[in-house]
Symmetry: D2
Subunit: 296 residues, 4 copies
Amino acid sequence: MSEQIGFIGLGNMGQPMAQNLLKAGYALRVYNRSSSKAESLVTQGAQPVSRAGDVVEPGGIVVTMVANDSALESVVSGEGGFLERLGPNGIHLSMSTVSPATARKLAELHAKHGSMYLAAPVFGRPDAAAARKLYISLSGPQAGKERVKPILNALGQSVYDFGDDPGAANVIKLTGNFLIASAMEAMAEALTLAEKNGIERSKVINMFGQTNFACPIYQNYGKTIAEERYTPAGFLLSLGLKDMNLVLQTAESAQMPMPFASLLHDRFMASVARGRGDMDWSALAMGVSEDAGLQK
Amino acid sequence: MSEQIGFIGLGNMGQPMAQNLLKAGYALRVYNRSSSKAESLVTQGAQPVSRAGDVVEPGGIVVTMVANDSALESVVSGEGGFLERLGPNGIHLSMSTVSPATARKLAELHAKHGSMYLAAPVFGRPDAAAARKLYISLSGPQAGKERVKPILNALGQSVYDFGDDPGAANVIKLTGNFLIASAMEAMAEALTLAEKNGIERSKVINMFGQTNFACPIYQNYGKTIAEERYTPAGFLLSLGLKDMNLVLQTAESAQMPMPFASLLHDRFMASVARGRGDMDWSALAMGVSEDAGLQK
Amino acid sequence: MSEQIGFIGLGNMGQPMAQNLLKAGYALRVYNRSSSKAESLVTQGAQPVSRAGDVVEPGGIVVTMVANDSALESVVSGEGGFLERLGPNGIHLSMSTVSPATARKLAELHAKHGSMYLAAPVFGRPDAAAARKLYISLSGPQAGKERVKPILNALGQSVYDFGDDPGAANVIKLTGNFLIASAMEAMAEALTLAEKNGIERSKVINMFGQTNFACPIYQNYGKTIAEERYTPAGFLLSLGLKDMNLVLQTAESAQMPMPFASLLHDRFMASVARGRGDMDWSALAMGVSEDAGLQK
Amino acid sequence: MSEQIGFIGLGNMGQPMAQNLLKAGYALRVYNRSSSKAESLVTQGAQPVSRAGDVVEPGGIVVTMVANDSALESVVSGEGGFLERLGPNGIHLSMSTVSPATARKLAELHAKHGSMYLAAPVFGRPDAAAARKLYISLSGPQAGKERVKPILNALGQSVYDFGDDPGAANVIKLTGNFLIASAMEAMAEALTLAEKNGIERSKVINMFGQTNFACPIYQNYGKTIAEERYTPAGFLLSLGLKDMNLVLQTAESAQMPMPFASLLHDRFMASVARGRGDMDWSALAMGVSEDAGLQK
């Protein structure tokens, strides 16, 4: 008989991830704030529940993939949350992008109840999630890692372990998004400089994507930014702003300035103020073009 | 009988490039400001000359690989320069990193004398030059490109053609160095944030170098910046500052701001002011660590 | 018979302010977290109390001058706070530098209890407070303003009314500190440029302080920065960092980037990371000198 | 009989300055590239000449007030320039805003011909020039300063002497314009933050202009930026960009970064790229409003 696990958060990412767990043979109880999102999973065999706390049996495993820090805190320790029910030997496999501070705080809370908090945020967009191609950074108590291994293998292509600190995996996730945003701004400036010198944007990224920067971020976002197609959004620009704020808060706690992050924050903020929060976060490049006097 | 070509500039890059031309069967006349640099090439069959103008016969080909804009202008049109001698049908294959403005100016000068200026700056360090692994961006009059093709093939692994504008290939070269510097600063900030959160720098770049950023710049400079080994220099930090100034001048002519480039300029400048001009340009990361209060 | 008022917060600023109220004939009950600070005031006639809530009678007036947002929330609505006791017709004259968001939140809380929250943060250092030379920005319900007028006149030289929004006066206070910090950074860069050109720092600020910038901030901070005397602190650099964070949070809520504020934040943060949090906030200029390669 | 002096450059500033010299009793020979500008001065008694070199007798005094570095070099040592004619004991009183590097170079050139170069750039707009209210920074050989004293007194309200280095007075002029631009950006950010919090822009600058920042720059530019009236231009935004470039070049020579100057450069550049080069340089504030999502 297959192991039963709880899954909370059925958005663009959670949906295909839950599906992969079903395919891998897990019995799933699913919860989402707006229950309509659970329907297609239910037709595939998942069992819907109406309170977060009902997804799991004492000592079981809950996977969460929710929108932000407060949504996560709410399903854990808010009204109807699963914290008390999970109890001794229970594992919370937390895969959302949240702040290291929130991760550390929730880890303490779980510890008090005898359960374990494992941070396992992921890299990849919904199509990568569907294809089990996610990259996963993992941290938290060693004891729990062995048990969740098959689950992680059903969701992603590789797992990187960053030790015991429950905040560590989230630091990694945030630095990853910071590196991506930095690469996007750099490409936007570079391609605009080329354009203003009469060179076709696509030819430039084509060269770099085949040579020094032959890797997914430069190839994929490079193409988007070269072609200036910022809708539909793969990842909302407003979430990009949220993540830069998490990066800056984490830097604040660690006592260090991050000048590129400050600049990226300001770029995203100006983009949101100009009404681009619902475009793809690569639309930060529109600000670069405008500041160059290019009307698109 | 093998074709004769002239080669000017026998520094860290020019030396192995000239050698590859000899190996490919070209008869070389070589010139370097300090003539001692020519010695090892002479033992391999190159013929040294004492004036830049003597490296070439009328209508021939001259390859230049010199330190900067003024050195290039000097060997072309300074005293003893090759401009007048080169004459009709002659080709100047200019492979140094110089400003697009200088390239355009020299191209006009050659056109007046009936010769052609081809811009062909390269990506790669001395070991890549020795291994014929350079990437080459090319621009200038189409007529000349066919004739230099075998030469470029003897020097690099691929050539990207950016059209007629003699400045275009140099714009590409500068945007490339700008992208690299941006990646280095972003990695420095990311790794320092990780370090201040108790995570080992090398583990972070190890993950990203295998996943989203699985490309040479992030793998190689990532390793350097993770291990904080900034000597010996592969590319001098003082030259990094020079290149950021070329980027900013090109942006000035094109009328656009480049905020990342401004910030990188300021980072390199502070590094030079603190006496790090002779370290590798990845030593810009030391400033990130210092601003985080880390004493190394 | 003189009116009785409560006064909470007897730090560097609160001390001389409370004294001026005594001199103006008010009967003062005073509270401070560490009660020893009240001693000198008690010898001058103030009556010490041991709980914040005891400084005031129902319907009375409480003046607060505490360190930060959480200290303010604590004396208002924390254990032993004065909120419930103050009640209908009571006035809380809040003179600390806190965020507009906190001010708005506390104003609502007071409204629920029938009392009024008036924001009245001040500009000036302890010596200005002692000399009744503070500038005061005021906002909140009009009804309360008439009643506190004599109190404000006993404390400062002029009052500027910014309307009903209880957050407005704090926005003004934060923009003021932002303008000061901007002027300090600008002066630091200007004087260092002069110094590196062989010009004496003091001569430069002497000219500007007598001409285009003949106003207190440039004259006083200009002298400090020219002479590079950053101790003892008039205003702690760590509080400067705190205030830049308040500025940036307020800008975040208002949805706008503030690039100068981002840069100042990063400058203050690097200064704190290097161990300068206890120096005067004008010590941000040390970072400018260091980045210029000057060892002091 | 009145002393004869030459005056070159009859633009917005030069015109009223020349007029004041006539009123002070000097016999003027005047030269301007486009001769029509001389007409009104001629009716007041000035004698027009058609070559720069004709404004002065050997050993005399020439005052220059031209647009930029190259215009200055042209009237000095270009065809028809006054350098050779000026000769031993001659004084060139150079009042334009040029780079310290140009000043130093011209000073050497004069020294070779036995004449003296005095740098005396001015602070103030055309109305201040007309009213003899200019502030003047002065540097160069002491020997010449005594002789030009009455001329400077006829032009401005005070003179600040910065020693022998002919570049020093221009460093001062550039730092002054940098301080002004910094103050404008800071005010723009501050007033926009207030506006987005529902506070009237004018009320904010009204308070600060009466208190901590009670000086001309904050009062005058503060009013302009509060009211957002950026035409007609008192000082062209395109010249503001030019001056920030001079500041950055001077910092480059001195080996120091100036992060505020870099940011101001980028702000001015984006403003020029968006077509605002002919507005007043305070129109940099429009970029702040736009980035805040405010359409004006």
